[in-house]
Symmetry: C2
Subunit: 330 residues, 2 copies
């Protein structure tokens, strides 16, 4: 099985690649080759039982997508995207990468022809939804994004669905919750603080909280997200009918609940490293975001996420801090 | 007030232009100039109190949209589109005209800058929706199109909404019901037979019905559609909040009810000119279409449509046959 990973330098793609390198198989099939592509040098797994090729290329450049799919990968993970904060700040870049890049990829797959019909796993986002919301957000919620990023992801979903319906590819679009706790440095996503307020205190640093404690949002860990990607890659073809895009499970938590969980896991001293510094722009963006989903369809298809926020923090401690929790003052 | 009409050779645009020529004003403002644009020579109204310019141009060609908006029209009617049947038959043409054309227009408006923020009325379609449907389809129905045409219109809605939210323009997207009875020759819309089975018999000709009599659909007359366009053009700015696209009112009728109405209006002889010739492709396309909507939001904003199918037939007889109904055999 040949795999193509687009956006391979990103945090989630790195974790996905690590996992694939460890497993060597996917859905019972042996991996033979992986192409890892990004606009910067992708991370390369240390030891693999399959061939790994890394490429620096811009999917939004004409011709690039065609070259990437010419070797007919069986499975394509399309994770390449400009994140929400940057797509809002730079309209043209956001549309170029998130819309044109996706469209060029799908068209390149279509043009291969001769029976080529790969599974394409597209990472969409709950940013395709926008307030006002019903009390429980079901799987039939209309996509009325309130950011350019959400707009671009919603358009990607429509293209993926149409191309799947027409038989050019076998798409699965997964709407990721806000991934938390993200390791490493903050990126330009407006949702970044949801991770910072856990990660920085655990690492002995101060974190800034730009929104009120009552803000409620929808979360899953990076580990759960890798699980979503693998599940999406191995879903039976046709399992999604005419609606190949679906909302991933997660857990709903307020910022207050996040902080309380941090306090329980790491102590009061650690939780006190969060400094409240209201930011009206971020508050306004986040006010248009959903607090929680039903996600019944995805759960029924075997997608699984954490069920309480302490578990999400423990996943971070296990996966990123080697399981060692340095309690403040100890 | 300067007006730009894109897709001006189309049936609806022609009726809109006729109406504007007759009125000379719109929303209390005097019309001073109208640019009528299409890929074929647009129809030109006979006598107007304002300047009329007709242009043959392809909106999907780079540079064209920029030229068209350089004179800063206050109001843009964007009706240029490849219809459903053709967009399904010719994927690249559909995406080029319906997606690229729309995007180039919106970007051209954005790039004018210097406070330019015209009302852009975009004709979307109920084809943005796809089965399965709830019993009553509300204004929050998710957009899950089952045709490439519906996909392209749904993408147009997303772009219009994002550009409106960002303040580049003042968009109103109206999801038209199937327009019936269309005058003239059939076009390549898969919905064409809904008009043919009324129009052809009234004109003494045979019509082909490719779907079962039980098929239910959502209709408004061309006259009602012109009313929608004018209402959309003159809606107060901001009246639609963050959701500038909305489903237009109409009436729900089965094919059987259409035929019964034709029989009541024009007699049994006329109704007998409908020949049943099942077409599996059309039946399958139509099976994914909605039967009826709530359209509460649009009604609340003053959009009005017919309430029974006989009225729709009488509108056709008045507007297209000069009010004269030649009863068969008379």
């Amino acid at each position: 099985m040949r795999i193509l990973v687009l956006g391979a330098a990103g945090m989630l793609a790195r974790k996905l690649t690590e996992r694939l390198a460890r497993d060597g198989v996917l859905g019972g099939e042996r991996l033979t080759h992986a192409s890892l592509v990004d606009i910067v040098e992708p991370w390369r797994p240390a030891a693999t039982t399959f061939e790994v090729e890394t490429l620096v290329a811009d999917l939004a450049e004409p011709g690039v997508a065609g070259d990437l799919v010419a070797s007919r990968p069986d499975l394509i993970f399309h994770l390449a995207a400009v994140v929400s904060g940057e797509a809002e700040a730079d309209l043209e870049k956001g549309y170029r990468v998130n819309l044109d890049g996706t469209r060029l990829l799908l068209d390149a797959v279509r043009k291969v022809g001769r029976g080529y019909r790969p599974r394409v796993v597209f990472t969409s986002s709950i940013a395709v939804f926008g307030a006002p919301f019903p009390a429980v957000i079901g799987d039939d919620q209309c996509t009325t994004p309130l950011t350019s990023y959400g707009t671009q992801k919603a358009i990607g979903e429509l293209l993926l669905s149409d191309y799947t319906r027409r038989g050019f590819l076998d798409g699965v679009g997964i709407r990721l919750p806000t991934i938390c706790v993200r390791p490493g440095k903050p990126n330009r996503a407006a949702s970044g603080f949801f991770s910072s307020i856990i990660r920085e205190p655990l690492n002995g640093e101060e974190a800034v909280l730009p929104v009120p404690d009552e803000v409620r949002h929808w979360f899953a860990s990076p580990r759960a997200a890798v699980g979503f990607l693998l599940q999406a890659a191995t879903l039976e073809s046709g399992a999604l009918g005419d609606r190949p895009c679906l909302t991933m499970p997660g857990l709903t938590a307020t910022v207050a609940a996040q902080i309380a969980a941090l306090r329980r896991v790491a102590g009061e001293e650690v939780a006190r490293r969060i400094r409240r510094e209201p930011d009206e722009t971020i508050r306004r963006i986040v006010a248009g975001w959903p607090g929680g989903f039903d996600a019944r369809r995805a759960r029924g298809l075997g997608f699984r996420a954490e069920t309480d926020f302490e578990e999400i923090i423990r996943v971070y401690v296990e996966d990123e801090l080697g399981g060692r929790l340095a309690r403040a003052g100890s």
